[in-house]
């Protein structure tokens, strides 16, 4: 009997431990890159510093040192005089792959607009790795991005963070160890999509009621799992303590595992903080409502996306340690975007602890995050906010990495971090700036005017045969 119980407990523990193995794990592994020494570059570190005429050495996929140090024999030397180096750019809001080019109806895979709560869907299962937009973004210096579901739903599903490397599969692009995101949406879109079908939600109050109902279900689901896991733990301890077989059996009998639910897996993950919340929200008042709701249910809003009115509550965002992923100048396409101003990003950046991010939400904008940041920097400076390039670059590097939970690995030029690096022909805050080279994990993945280092998707191959060149 004792042995049987031991076996049962062991089995149970192993079931619990295997309850959520990593699904669809990353298969990305960087090939070996050539060690590279960049000489005499102007380096924007991504976390607020500017280093002039400075050397940078990358090897074995990592940033080895900035300034001075030893290099491997045979390392490639790049004279970067007059050139600038930044961390690889990161876009926290992209729909590449889920709304790919060409944008035909059968490629429209970004919104599971069949129910307002679809936390169970994962954007990665819609990603078409052959979207030509990935290589265009690479030529713009983007080394990582989050692919999000659209905003038709209150809970749109999970977002995925990808390395911008060509692959047959999204698994081959998945950023190792990056947490999932949860896309949520405020305001007009969900209420328009479902209200238009005479279905809930049709109002902003309907939106909030539906979020809260879902969180309540997620709390219950989490409690069920907590209780179960505690019982398994208690049983294991009872066995270890050589307690009576009766108490162990009792612990086991009262605790069959809760049934897994994909939707609630995601929501509970967000409540626990394992999944980062990315909230599409335009209006200041709605963002404050969402912050209160997060307090009610004990979760964190990581980043508000679009936040055209974020400047109105910049202090509240900073105080709550919430990032604002914003556009430089897009406005007016709907009434919740009517109060857009070009100083939005600079104003969100202003308070101590402010976390401003330039995001694209666009297959064009993602190619020119540096230009979008330049416009936002200009407007901040013209408003008297004194924003130098080393500050503005944070908006498309370190702050973006923080929003995605990968700032320990990438997002700044720092020893030991992934060698995700862009070499620019000049100060990147210009319409004339272009990446000369883009490295991901120390591997040269793009080089200007070098066809052998300009990846092309299968879709583009062999098109327009016969067109005059």
């Amino acid at each position: 009997m004792r042995n049987l119980i031991c076996v049962l407990v062991t089995l149970l523990i192993s079931v619990a431990a295997r309850a959520q193995p990593e699904a669809f794990p990353s298969t990305y592994a960087a090939p070996a890159g050539q060690p590279v020494l960049f000489k005499n570059a102007t380096i924007l570190t991504g976390d607020g510093h500017r280093l002039d005429q400075t050397d940078l050495y990358i090897a074995e996929g990592q940033i080895q040192w900035v300034g001075e140090g030893v290099i491997a024999p045979g390392a490639t030397k790049v004279d970067a005089s007059g050139q600038w180096i930044t961390p690889g750019l990161i876009d926290v809001h992209s729909h590449l792959g889920v709304y790919p080019s060409p944008g035909v109806a059968a490629h429209s895979d970004g919104n599971e607009a069949t129910a307002p709560v679809t936390a169970e869907v994962w954007a990665e299962h819609s990603v078409w790795p052959q979207d030509p937009g990935f290589s265009r973004a690479l030529a713009g210096g983007v080394t990582a991005m989050q692919i999000l579901p659209g905003s038709a739903n209150l809970f749109g599903g999970r977002g995925v963070t990808l390395k911008n490397v060509p692959s047959i599969s999204y698994q081959g692009m998945k950023f190792p160890g990056a947490p999932h995101g949860l896309k949520m949406a405020c305001g007009e879109n969900p209420k328009r999509v479902y209200g238009g079908r005479t279905q809930a939600p049709s109002t902003r109050m309907g939106n909030v009621a539906a979020y809260r109902s879902a969180w309540i279900r997620a709390q219950r689901y989490q409690a069920d799992w907590d209780r179960y896991n505690q019982a398994v733990k208690d049983a294991a301890e009872a066995v270890a303590d050589d307690s009576s077989g009766a108490s162990v059996a009792s612990a086991l009998l009262t605790n069959t595992p809760p049934r897994r639910n994909l939707e609630l897996d995601t929501l509970a993950g967000a409540l626990r903080g394992d999944i980062l919340v990315h909230m599409h929200c335009y209006r200041a008042d709605e963002m404050l409502t969402i912050l209160d709701m997060a307090k009610e249910f004990g979760y964190r809003v990581g980043t508000f996306h679009h936040g055209v009115e974020a400047y109105k509550i910049a202090d509240e965002l900073a105080a709550n340690d919430v990032c604002g992923a914003l556009w430089a100048d897009w406005w007016g396409f709907k009434i919740e975007a009517y109060d857009g101003i070009q100083e939005n990003i600079a104003l969100v950046d202003r308070p101590a602890g402010g976390c401003a991010i330039v995001h694209s939400d666009s297959d064009e904008g993602i190619q020119r995050l540096n230009q979008e940041a330049a416009k936002a920097m200009l407007r901040g400076n013209r408003a008297g906010l004194n924003i130098p390039p080393e500050r503005a670059i944070r908006w498309i590097t370190y702050n973006a990495a923080k929003s995605l939970g990968v700032h320990q690995q990438t997002g700044s030029i720092e020893s030991g971090k992934m060698a995700d690096v862009v070499l620019w022909n000049q100060n990147p805050f210009s319409v004339y700036a272009k990446p000369l080279q883009v490295y991901i994990d120390g591997v040269l993945r793009y080089e200007q005017n070098n066809p052998s280092l300009s990846p092309q998707s299968d879709f583009e191959l062999g098109q327009l045969i016969g067109a005059a060149q």
Binding site: S101, P102, G103, V104, P132, G133, R136, E188, Y311, K312, D329, W330, W331, G332, F333, K334, I335, Y338, D339, G340, I341, Q342, E343, L347, D363, E364, Q367, R368, Q371, A374, K375, M377, L378, R379, R382, A383, G384, F429, S430, V431, Y432, K434, F459, E460, Q463, L464, A467, A468
Partner: protein, 422 residues
């Protein structure tokens, strides 16, 4: 002096004191781009009564009521904002505030007589939002809806006037695959309908409507008159991206002797020799470099440079209305991808007026004084319009957005932002 005369004198001095009402204005030390494709020179510009009076290197302050030292900053003609719905669309998805397109009114398959100028609202917030970024005019377009001909528009000067229209009546025609799907399932249907409509202009059809079907007349008499008039004195903008569609538009324009322009033109570079030979200008978005549709598989960043090198006149449009101010970034990217700088600047200033029949937009004596002083390179994202001058007047450089900034820039909100009224 009686009270009335005193009041008039006071008002007069007030008017003089308000910069917007200066009767003469001198801009000194400008790096002046005149609007053609010549390099800039250091010049002064004297403006009187809305017109450019003199452009020279030695004008003195004594000649003007108001002087602005440009201190070497670039000065250009006010820019072209592209093909837009500025003043026609207050908020994109608030459909009752959008008047740029005709849809769902099935009285006929073609309504070239649909004239968006009737709906133009110069008091729209989008007008000053665009103007203070250095833009002086735009091509007001009938946006593509669900038919071959969208309607008509023309250039409009962004000076806030209710009737500030300029240039030729311009007819907007769609011949691409996307709209082809809406007129019978094939882009060939566009040509079928256009050929039918244009042949009806020359053949005797009696005096009634020319009908394809009792419930769906192809085009009515007013529409026919509009087309006839536009063929004589107006312009046609063909929206087409695929190389083959562009060639069809070229052939149709030659056959019917139309003064025509291509807009879209993602694959125009493929047929650039034919475009150059027929002197057909192309309006492109120089940021288009993705195969967004099967009409644009050949979209590429050096489209503008290739077209220019082949001798094709290139203009720009961004496809944006609220963010039409982005167009100079579009032009800057064309320069970054090989288009000569001065050519891009001419495409942003004088060339659209020339092509669409507007008043000349150059910095030259006798021309209307719509000019901009820039903080730096007008095509770079690191500079902005410091001062816009429209009709010889200093623009107050305010929009609803600048007012929102003034309300939210102070760190102390006092009783609340609602009490901060700039």
């Amino acid at each position: 002096m009686n009270n009335k005369r005193l009041l008039i004198a006071l008002l007069g001095s007030l008017l003089l004191a308000v910069p917007g009402h200066a009767t003469s204005l001198l801009i000194t030390n400008g790096t002046v781009f005149t609007g053609d494709d010549a390099p800039p020179s250091q010049l002064d510009i004297l403006i009187e009564d809305g017109l450019i009076e003199a452009v020279a290197s030695d004008l003195t302050a004594a000649e003007a009521d108001h002087v602005i030292d440009a201190a070497g900053r670039p000065v250009t003609p006010a820019l072209f904002a592209g093909i837009t719905a500025v003043g026609l669309s207050e908020i994109g998805m608030v459909y009752e505030a959008v008047d740029s397109r005709l849809k769902g009114l099935y009285t006929g398959l073609m309504h070239p007589e649909f004239d968006v100028r009737k709906a133009y609202n110069p008091l729209s917030n989008v007008v000053p939002v665009t103007r203070i970024e250095g833009y002086g005019y735009t091509l007001l377009a009938a946006a593509f809806g669900d038919r071959t001909i969208s309607g008509q528009g023309s250039l409009v000067r962004l000076d806030g006037g209710f009737d500030s229209f300029e240039g030729n009546t311009t007819i907007f025609v769609n011949v691409d695959g996307y709209t082809g799907d809406k007129v019978g399932g094939s882009r060939a249907a566009h040509w079928m309908l256009l050929e039918t409509a244009f042949s009806s202009l020359t053949t005797k059809q009696g005096n009634g409507l020319w009908l394809t079907h009792n419930e769906h007349p192809l085009i009515n008499q007013i529409g026919k008159a509009t087309l006839k008039n536009a063929r004589e004195n107006g312009m046609f903008v063909f929206r087409a991206n695929r190389a083959g569609d562009i060639l069809q538009a070229l052939a149709f324009s030659q056959q019917h002797q139309l003064n025509a322009v291509i807009s879209g033109g993602q694959e125009a570079w493929i047929v650039r020799e034919a475009l150059a030979a027929s002197r057909m200008p192309v309006v492109i978005n120089a940021l288009d470099n993705l195969p967004g549709s099967f009409d644009g598989l050949g979209a590429r960043l050096d489209n503008a440079a290739l077209l220019h090198a082949a001798g094709v006149a290139v203009l720009f449009t961004s496809g944006e209305t609220h963010n039409a101010r982005k167009l100079r970034q579009v032009a800057g990217n064309a320069v970054a991808n090989g288009l000569p700088y001065e050519v891009a600047l001419a495409a942003m200033t004088s060339l659209p007026a020339e092509i669409f029949g507007g008043k000349p937009r150059m910095v030259a004596p006798g021309l209307q004084a719509d000019v901009v002083i820039w903080s730096g390179d007008p095509l770079d994202v690191g500079s902005a319009a410091d001062q816009v001058i429209i009709n010889g007047k200093l623009d107050p450089m305010t929009s609803r957005q600048t007012e929102l900034l003034k309300r939210y820039l102070p760190t102390d909100a006092g009783l609340g932002r609602a009490y901060i009224n700039p």
